[in-house]
Symmetry: C2
Subunit: 336 residues, 2 copies
Amino acid sequence: VTGSGRSDEPLRWGEFELIDHVFAPLAKEYAGAFGLKDDVAALAMKAGHQLVLKADSLIESVHFLQEDPPATVGRKALRRALSDLAAKGATPELYLLAIALPETIGRSWLESFAGGLAGDQVQFRIALAGGETSRTPGALTITVTVAGWVPEGRLVRRKGATPGDEVWVTGTIGDAAGGLSLLNNECVAPNNTVHERLVGRFRLPQPRLAFGKRLLEFARSAVDVSDGLLADLGHIAEVSGVSMEIDTVAVPLSSELIALWGEGQESVLRAVSAGDDYEVAFTTPESAFETVMRAAESSATAVTRIGRVTEGAVGVVMRDSSGREISSPRKGYMHF
Amino acid sequence: VTGSGRSDEPLRWGEFELIDHVFAPLAKEYAGAFGLKDDVAALAMKAGHQLVLKADSLIESVHFLQEDPPATVGRKALRRALSDLAAKGATPELYLLAIALPETIGRSWLESFAGGLAGDQVQFRIALAGGETSRTPGALTITVTVAGWVPEGRLVRRKGATPGDEVWVTGTIGDAAGGLSLLNNECVAPNNTVHERLVGRFRLPQPRLAFGKRLLEFARSAVDVSDGLLADLGHIAEVSGVSMEIDTVAVPLSSELIALWGEGQESVLRAVSAGDDYEVAFTTPESAFETVMRAAESSATAVTRIGRVTEGAVGVVMRDSSGREISSPRKGYMHF
């Protein structure tokens, strides 16, 4: 049974006490949340903008581990959904939270969970606008629905990559997978710093919202990297009807991941096939180079050019340091 | 383990095949769904309107039973959320679906599930705009987020009940609880028709969308009846700062429920404390009587006056046939 190992003060709250104590404080600054005391959340329109919506579930033993600190669990649920907004150039407005709680979850867990969300709400300028709490006989499941704004007709789609475009990615790839391999005791970090940083990347993604808004200036296509870089670039290639060539040696790995997995092609292939990065991959015309670099600098976000869009067969090709095609056996994290 | 008794053809689909086969067909008519091939759904604004949002989870063994037909499971998930829109006077636009599947769910279950949703999409003029599918080690969990429109500033709130108002409710109360008591073998129906109708009310709520839109003409406050009539009227009383007096003898019970539970005060008290009705309770000025009746007639929705709003202590009071106050031990369905 999931969650059976957790020990916490029993809840001893009715459903409405739980909402009043834990969730209503997160909604107090958003008028359309009605203090979580109505059936729905209300949202006023924003002139010249369209709304973007994303619902995403975080499930215990699938997307996070029972031992993960509750303060990071709520933030990971929120940040995963925010990462989708970032990749579309959108600005967050509100989120809804539907949480299914097993009986092992008690007060202190919920208070830490909500505390984590409170911090993220300030950091990402987003408010809780609606919530729903249920009991579950199964795994703790947190479903976040985020809503954000993008200027009318400016949404950055997956579709739009054009032969001649350059392929970019933010941050570094594979760190969360490295962190998970440490938590699963599949390997041991050479030192504490490496351990903490990689585990931190698994537990607490960094949605690229500041850089994401700048995508509107230069991106022809973009995707949230969550299934794995190779799989997610594959989504762009498929809907854009293009080929992509990725230079293995250009894929950015962190020094921590290199300290864990080693340098070289094997580590890169493992990293591009792993999930949970929550970076943004995008394509731009070659002429956009300076604009991309300025956006990266002003948002303090690392970006790396990793390949190009071509007219070849639809799909993604990885090339080694001498330009030869690498056959990669695995495309990304698959739920099924 | 939840769902272990289910037998079905194994899934043998990857995540993207599953989306392509089962969910993408439900999204094909909504442009902003991008064929479920992008990170988000997009929604154009509607002049003079505000958006209302609601996220709601349906969990196996909590909100539905493993034996329930898959075609009704998806519809119940959708209809529960639509019922919240109905109670606010809103018109549905789109929904997002986040589904966490245990391994026991196979193709035929999913195809029936999607078939049920397809029918409801036509009936309620709503489209799937985004989806997310995960594996869960626990209970099948379906989270639906609905979005709908209401004319700017016209949202019918829970807050607004005013002393002198009359209290109304649509349909009949307690049927779903009767159906659940039959499915749990707590009682036996006198005949098949009673059994089927009450079980049908548990499995397949009827969101009062047609009548709901008319609430804008006359309702001072309204609530979706999901926790139980007494508990949900309590929500109106609390946020409106009023007292409500409900005439037990006026609460509408179906002939099927009376055939199961019998006539009289005990059955009514049981019905008003049970959940899952998905009717709409609302208050209106006395002068609105004719308008309410016309709205009921033109939307083919039964409505009943069951009490009044007064200036007494905040809360809900039940009165028996001679006007005496009844003390009721139980307020509604509580998750915790």
